[in-house]
Symmetry: C2
Subunit: 196 residues, 2 copies
């Protein structure tokens, strides 16, 4: 009698709904995506959405987690797997050119663009912290290379990390302005010429 699931079962796939919500938020951003947009693209009514996800904010939080695990962690993976910071950044920039322009989903990076120009400071701050956390990852990987002599000891790790982040954010913006994968790859290649 401890078997769960009393009551009427949910009539839709929660994960598939999260996926539709992710696409909507990714395309139009947090604030410009209305509950009506979400219910329409998921194919359920508002009370079902609220029963399953709480409210718009909590749904977005879940979407961010799914996004991070599916599209957002390629930077972290590269930083962990590649032998040097330079190799990691090279891989990250090339993969960004590919992912940001993949026609299977909206262009650019959702963490970079979805909370720009929102009236909800909390949402903006949450994504800002994710971006800054990525900067810290870059920086510590650079410092590791400085410690092992791969990078000069007088390297400004913080500035170099910020440069990589700025190029990534710029590439995300450019992809949303219509840049192709090839164009972004050329940007990535050019950007790497500045690496010490």
């Amino acid at each position: 009698m401890v078997t769960g699931q009393r009551g009427r079962p949910r009539s839709f796939d929660r994960d598939a709904a999260l996926d539709k919500a992710m696409t909507a938020f990714w395309q139009r951003g947090y604030e410009a995506t209305s509950i009506a947009d979400l219910t329409a693209s998921i194919g359920i009514s508002a009370p079902s959405l609220y029963a399953a996800f709480g409210d718009k904010r909590k749904l977005f939080d879940e979407v961010v987690v799914v996004y991070g695990s599916r599209y957002g962690d390629f930077a972290g993976v590269a930083l962990a797997e590649e032998p040097t910071a330079r190799a990691a950044v090279e891989r990250i920039l090339r993969e960004a050119a590919e992912v940001y322009t993949d026609p299977a989903h909206p262009p650019g990076c959702m963490v970079i663009s979805a909370a720009i120009n929102t009236t909800s400071d909390e949402v903006a701050q949450a994504l800002r912290e994710r971006r800054n956390a990525n900067l810290v990852l870059f920086e510590s990987r650079i410092r590791a290379d400085m410690a092992t002599g791969v990078l000069p000891a007088d390297t400004d790790a913080r500035a170099l990390a910020r440069y990589a982040g700025a190029v990534l954010q710029g590439m995300s913006q450019q992809s949303r302005d219509g840049a192709t994968r090839e164009e972004l790859e050329a940007v990535a290649e050019r950007a790497l010429l500045a690496w010490p």
Copy 2:
């Protein structure tokens, strides 16, 4: 009797109002800035705003023109005044570090950030075209240097222009994420190392 100005005179300074509106749009973006925000920060009521500027969209258009002439044309000026594309880009990136973090106004570039995540495709398109026009300016300046032998004849002008644009957009975003002028100057310096 042909002398103009019949009727009750306007009770506020139209240019000063445009200035307040620019600050508001710059800070929060086009869509997230409501008419109530605008009337509150200007200090007039809605009908006065509509009588003076038409509607929200036309007001924004005027703001974009004012912004362009006051803060947005430093790139065009540098491209026209500096002897080489490289010198121009160097000056542009350094000035961007300064302007984007000037505490006298909101951070970053309004043309880059104000129309992200808006439901009005027209406004988004208008600013996108301004950004792409800037890219074309960069590209033609680069081509001029290629013609005079300052840059190698096999330079990918389009890609190089896009690289400069991406760095600029990245710097704008970083400034809105809290980067300081010094940090952006370090990014600019690093970015210039990739110049051919």
